[in-house]
C-alpha cells in the first residue's frame, strides 16, 4: 500500500562533514544564503532574521530548532515564497525563489486554519492535485493512498471541524504528501497536539519521508523532537537570528520512540544542542558561527 513505492529514494549518504558548501558536492535541493528579513511598519521595524545560511541536499530530513519568536515561521514563509525577503538568496533546485515554487508543499503551524472548512477531508486533499492538473484517476489514487497512510481512510466525507486537532494535522500532512512535493516544509506541526499523538505523528513523518524520498525541512522549538527526527539539526539563535550550529545527528536510521530516545548518544546530542541554545541566550551578543 506504499504511496510511492514506485519512487526511489534520492537520499545521498548523509555527509559527515558539516555543510561547508565545498565545491564538487552535488547541488543542494535548497540553498539559503544570507537570508535577512526586516519587518517594517509605519512606526517601527523588527529585524526578525539577521543572517541565515544553510543548505539541504536532496532527500535529507533537516530539523531547524530555535526558541519561540526567533523567526522560524518568517524563514519558512521566505523559503516558500510567501514573503518577500529583505536581502537574500533562496535557491530551490537551482532556481531562485520569488513566488511559491512548484514542487513544494507546506504544513503550517496553524494547521486547523489551513484546511478549508467548507470542503470535506477528501476535497481538501484532492484540490491541490486538481490545481496541479492531474487526471481524475491519478487524483483518486493519490488521495486514497495518502489518507490511508495517515490513518484517515474512514474520514473521507468528514469536514475538518468534525475532527480532533491531531486528525486535522493528519489531513494537512496527507494533503502535502499526496501533492508529491520535492520539498516538504513543516512549521512546528506538532506544537499543539498532545504528547502521545505527537509521538505517533513524528513517527509518521519519519515513515513517510523514508518511503517518499522527499526532502524535508522540519521546524520546531522542541530540541528533543529535532534530535529524534532529523539527520541534521540546524540550531538557530534567538532574534535577531543567525545559525548557531549545524549538528549532524548520527543516530541509527531506524528510529523508535522508546529505544532511540533512551540511547546514550541521543541524550548527548540533545544536551549538546540544548547547551548551544542556552549559551546563545546567555551571551546573546557574542555569536560564534561554527
Amino acid at each position: 500500500m506504499s504511496i510511492v513505492s514506485t519512487l526511489t529514494r534520492r537520499t545521498p549518504e548523509p555527509d559527515t562533514a558539516m555543510s561547508t558548501d565545498s565545491t564538487g558536492q552535488q547541488t543542494p535541493m535548497l540553498d539559503v544564503r544570507g537570508l535577512r528579513k526586516v519587518y517594517t511598519s509605519a512606526n517601527r521595524s523588527v529585524e526578525a532574521v539577521r543572517d541565515l545560511t544553510f543548505s539541504i541536499d536532496p532527500g535529507e530530513l533537516v530539523c531547524l530548532v530555535g526558541p519561540s519568536g526567533c523567526g522560524k515561521t518568517t524563514l519558512l514563509r521566505c523559503i516558500s515564497g510567501l514573503l518577500e525577503t529583505t536581502s537574500d538568496e533562496v535557491v530551490l533546485e537551482g532556481k531562485r525563489v520569488s513566488g511559491p515554487p512548484e514542487g513544494m508543499a507546506v504544513v503550517f503551524q496553524e494547521y486547523g486554519r489551513s484546511l478549508f472548512p467548507w470542503l470535506t477531508v477528501w476535497q481538501n486533499v484532492e484540490l491541490p492535485l486538481k490545481e496541479k492538473g492531474l487526471c481524475r484517476a491519478e487524483r483518486k489514487r493519490l488521495t486514497t493512498e495518502s489518507l490511508a497512510a495517515v490513518g484517515l481512510a474512514d474520514f473521507h466525507s468528514a469536514h475538518p471541524w468534525q475532527l480532533s486537532g491531531g486528525m486535522q494535522q493528519r489531513v494537512a500532512i496527507a494533503r502535502a504528501v499526496a501533492y508529491e512535493p520535492n520539498v516538504l516544509l513543516m512549521d512546528e506541526p506538532f506544537a499543539a497536539v498532545d504528547a502521545q499523538t505527537r509521538g505517533e505523528l513524528e513517527d509518521l513523518v519519519r515513515a513517510l519521508w523514508e518511503r517518499l524520498g522527499v526532502t524535508v525541512l522540519f521546524v520546531t522549538h522542541d530540541i528533543d523532537e529535532a534530535v529524534y527526527l532529523g539527520q541534521r539539526v540546524v540550531v538557530l539563535s534567538s532574534s535577531p537570528t543567525v545559525v548557531l550550529e549545524d549538528v549532524t545527528i548520527d543516530l541509527p536510521a531506524e528510529r523508535d520512540q522508546l529505544t532511540t530516545r533512551s540511547l546514550p548518544r541521543f541524550t548527548e546530542l540533545r544536551a549538546h544542542v540544548y547547551a548551544r541554545v542556552q549559551e546563545a541566550k546567555a551571551g546573546a551578543q557574542s555569536v560564534a558561527t561554527p
Binding site: 508543499a105 478549508f116 467548507w118 490545481e131
Partner: protein, 263 residues
C-alpha cells in the same frame, strides 16, 4: 419515532402559534365591524381569491415578482462582484469605502424621483430602484467577508498554486459566503420594500400600484387583501432564503455548533 413527531408538533406550534392568535384576534375584533376602514377580516379574505387569483395574478403579481427577481439577482451579482474586487485590494478599499458609506446612508426611496428622471417609468426604472437599494448591504458585507478570510488559508492557496479561478470560487467566494449571505438577507427585505415603493410612484401595474389603486377607489377589503398578499410573499421568500442558506452555509453552521458545544 414518537418523540420526533412530538418534537415536530412542538416546533409547528411555536412557529404557527402566534400568527394563529393574531389572526384570531383580528377576526374576532373586526367580526361585526361596520367601520369602513376596518372591514371584517372575513370580508377581506372573501375578496382575496377573486381579487388576486383571477386575472391580477398574471397582470400584477407576476410582473412585480419578476422585477423583484431581476433586481435582486442583479444586486447580488454586482454587489458580490464589486465587493470581491474592493475587498481584495487595500488601496481600492481605502479610496472607495467612505463613498460607499455615504451612498449606503441615503434612503433608497428618495432615489426614486431621481431615477424616474433618468430611466423613465418603465420596468428598467423599477429594477434600478431595487438594485440601488439592495446592493449596499451585499457590497459592504462582501468587502468585510473577503477581508476577514483567514491569512493561513490564503497562504495555503498560494503554496499549492491555486489557479485564479479556483482562488476566486473556492477561497474567496466560499470564504466570504457567511457575510455575503448576511448581506443578501438584509437586501431581500430592502428589495421587497423597494419593489412596492417603486410601483407606488409611477406604474401601470404591479402589487404596489394595485394596492394604491384600491385605496384611491376606496375598495378597502381589496386593499387589505393586497397587504396580506405582500406579507405572505415576504414570508415565502424568507423561507426560501433560509432553505438556500442552510444548503450554502451548512459547513458554517456545523462549524459554529461544534465550536459552541466543544472546547
Amino acid at each position: 419515532m414518537t418523540t420526533s413527531i412530538r418534537r415536530a408538533a412542538r416546533r409547528l406550534l411555536l412557529i404557527a402559534g402566534l400568527p394563529a392568535v393574531l389572526v384570531t384576534a383580528w377576526w374576532l375584533a373586526t367580526a361585526n365591524s361596520t367601520n369602513f376602514y376596518w372591514p371584517p377580516l372575513r370580508t377581506i379574505l372573501e375578496t382575496f381569491g377573486p381579487t388576486w387569483l383571477e386575472g391580477k395574478l398574471t397582470t400584477d403579481v407576476v410582473p412585480s415578482l419578476a422585477r423583484l427577481g431581476v433586481g435582486y439577482v442583479a444586486a447580488l451579482a454586482l454587489g458580490s462582484g464589486l465587493g470581491v474586487a474592493i475587498g481584495s485590494s487595500k488601496t481600492l478599499r481605502a479610496t472607495v469605502e467612505p463613498v460607499l458609506e455615504f451612498f449606503r446612508a441615503i434612503p433608497p426611496p428618495v432615489l426614486v424621483p431621481i431615477l424616474i428622471l433618468f430611466a423613465g417609468i418603465g420596468d428598467g426604472m423599477k429594477v434600478l430602484v431595487i438594485v440601488s437599494g439592495a446592493i449596499w448591504p451585499i457590497l459592504l458585507n462582501t468587502v468585510e467577508g473577503v477581508r476577514s478570510i483567514d491569512e493561513v488559508l490564503r497562504d495555503t492557496a498560494a503554496c499549492y498554486r491555486f489557479r485564479t479561478r479556483t482562488r476566486l470560487t473556492t477561497l474567496i467566494l466560499r470564504g466570504a459566503s457567511p457575510q455575503i449571505m448576511a448581506g443578501a438577507r438584509q437586501a431581500l427585505s430592502i428589495a421587497i420594500i423597494l419593489m412596492v415603493i417603486s410601483e407606488m410612484f409611477a406604474a401601470s401595474n404591479g402589487l404596489g400600484f394595485t394596492i394604491i389603486q384600491f385605496q384611491r377607489s376606496f375598495a378597502l377589503p381589496q386593499m387589505w387583501s393586497g397587504i396580506i398578499l405582500l406579507g405572505l410573499i415576504g414570508v415565502a421568500l424568507s423561507l426560501l432564503f433560509r432553505l438556500v442558506e442552510n444548503r450554502v452555509l451548512a459547513w458554517y453552521f456545523g462549524q459554529r455548533n461544534t465550536q459552541h458545544s466543544g472546547a
